[in-house]
Symmetry: C2
Subunit: 358 residues, 2 copies
């Protein structure tokens, strides 16, 4: 496998297992599985989902919806607040496929009705505690007004993203957030189901979709990150290190033996500048050793302590320093795979295929 | 100016002024001006530098060198430690243009001589206190051995990047680092000049190149970020807010009036996740109001407090909330323009031209 610069490696087997597990869980719990494609943004990786029966997807921009629609996906939810400036693109796409947009407030709904005469499918975004966007679950008046205002449009149900699970301190805390979200979504749906018998409740985040076993009262899950997982998910307790399906291959360009540091070609433009705090220090990725079919963890801890635009600095264990020479390639498991994939734009598999990102 | 999604705006006049000022300073101080093109990575922006007499450039990867060589630049320094895995690309490019590579250690030099029979131009990278890469300035033995080992190659001089100016707490501290760097580079050059009469000393960072007035004993400057500047440089005291030449136009997609928050289409995949700490809070960018010819600061402080993949959350002042509606566009001055330009990949000027990034 010829690699000479930072390259995003994809372990297809791990990726397929991650998809398989989530698809199985959705089926077992009688849930619509509408995976979020913002993590991989790849038509070829999208094809793998089809093998597991997926025919509905989630994206986070109109551009991404257009990209996957071109590739044949015909049932897409844009899980991002309705952007009035893209109304004409939304209308065009709605003529071609089953497109769902997201309305996050009454004010946003007011904007929508001024801009279109078409009938669109919409979810109402509910803020179940994350406080990023959406109508607060207990603001029933605003929800009712929004639904009334959009009476000419097609109300598909309630959608929430419990991104607050990413701040959880334990698995238990993630499961508590999931329970609270479920209870909120259940109440809302039951309040509106008589008037709108077809509405569903849709939840999204990878931590709770991966860890929870109870999905009673929910209709749809939209996790995205699970397709690859990453170091953030591992540290949350959501996955094993061996479940992570992506890794960045980085050439070793120098070694500083006085400071026990390895300098790699691999910086913020490859890995992104996301970090985790470990023992009071920033860590920008997990070092692994590459082989012909995959990677494995180096036994003694080495930290990727700093990233500039193209350089990465590894504070290396003796063990790693003894193994590594200039011209070798080291693997870095990313902190946040969505950001890394977005930067590197293509995936290299271990059978030497390239899969492309939007 | 039709904008419907996050768009990198370039104020060409500010950009030209930044280039003009630095070119003038280089001329006044009899310095070779070899600007670093890693910030803009744009052939069209490169053309502007030509108007100010620039004919030598710096880049941070072989790929970038190839890109600018294709566009006619024929004197390029790759200011990144020599990557043995790209030796064949380096050899090819060296046949076509005046290419300088960087040797950061004796170990790296040993690797080079095993890999090539060609004569290459090289700088020795000196660590003058930043401690990222390079040979420590006082490790004369290692420097001498490196020069001896590379005797068949063409020694161009000493190169350093004082990236530690970015951690400085004051302008004075930046100037002290500049003085120390100058003194280190002066000593080194004088030690080797008899043996190598043509060697030069080359320094690089935007903070010291912008703030310092004394460049005695130095031969070349390689600043890069100054072409746009950014919020990091502004907070260091390196530039005025009005010198910053780039800004990301972000659609307002929702407003939460209970929390005084504005939700924009503009996240980590547009702005990067770099932040500054301000009053104990993370700030991911400076909010500005856009007009037809540029932007201006909103008088009351509003902070971009959080970014996810596509969403940004502004904690807004009353003044900003009263001005803004869903469907408007807000400007965000980036924390780190290099990272933002790398993510957004093209620039839109106020006369509606697009300039492209590598």
């Amino acid at each position: 496998m010829k690699i000479s610069k930072p390259t995003l490696l994809l372990d297809l087997e791990k990726c397929k297992n991650n998809i398989k597990r989530m698809a199985k869980k959705a089926k077992k719990n009688d849930l619509i599985f509408r995976p979020h494609f913002k993590t991989h943004q790849s038509i070829e990786i999208g094809e793998i989902f089809k093998e597991f029966g997926v025919d509905k997807i989630t994206v986070s921009s109109v551009e991404m919806a257009q990209y996957f629609a071109e590739a044949g996906w015909d049932d897409i939810t844009i899980a991002f607040p309705f952007n009035p400036l893209e109304i004409s693109e939304i209308e065009k796409l709605s003529d071609k496929i089953d497109l769902n947009i997201l309305i996050s407030s009454l004010e946003s709904a007011e904007k929508l009705i001024k801009l279109t005469s078409k009938t669109l499918n919409y979810f109402i975004e509910i803020d179940a505690g994350y406080h990023r966007s959406g109508i607060l679950a207990d603001d029933i008046i605003q929800i009712e007004k929004t639904v009334q205002l959009l009476s000419k449009h097609n109300f598909k149900g309630f959608l929430t993203h419990s991104g607050n699970t990413y701040q959880a301190k334990s698995i238990d805390e993630i499961l508590i957030i999931h329970q609270q979200t479920t209870s909120i979504m259940k109440d809302l749906k039951s309040r509106f189901i008589m008037q709108f018998p077809k509405i569903i409740s849709s939840v999204g985040d990878t931590p709770s979709c991966t860890l929870a076993e109870n999905f009673e009262y929910l209709d749809e899950i939209r996790p995205g990150n699970f397709v690859f997982f990453d170091l953030m998910q591992y540290h949350l307790g959501v996955c094993d290190l061996t479940d992570i399906a992506v890794c960045v291959a980085c050439p070793v360009v120098d070694i500083n033996r006085e400071r026990n540091q390895i300098i790699i070609y691999g910086g913020g433009v490859h890995l992104s500048k996301e970090f985790l705090m470990q023992n009071g220090k920033r860590n920008f990725g997990q070092i692994v050793m590459l082989n012909k079919t995959g990677w494995q963890k180096s036994t003694k801890i080495s930290l990727l302590i700093s990233l500039s635009q193209e350089h990465g600095i590894i504070q290396a264990s003796e063990e790693l320093l003894n193994k590594i020479s200039i011209g070798d390639i080291i693997g870095i498991i990313p902190i946040h795979s969505c950001m890394t994939a977005n930067l590197l734009r293509k995936y290299k598999t271990f059978n030497n295929r390239y899969l492309y990102h939007l």
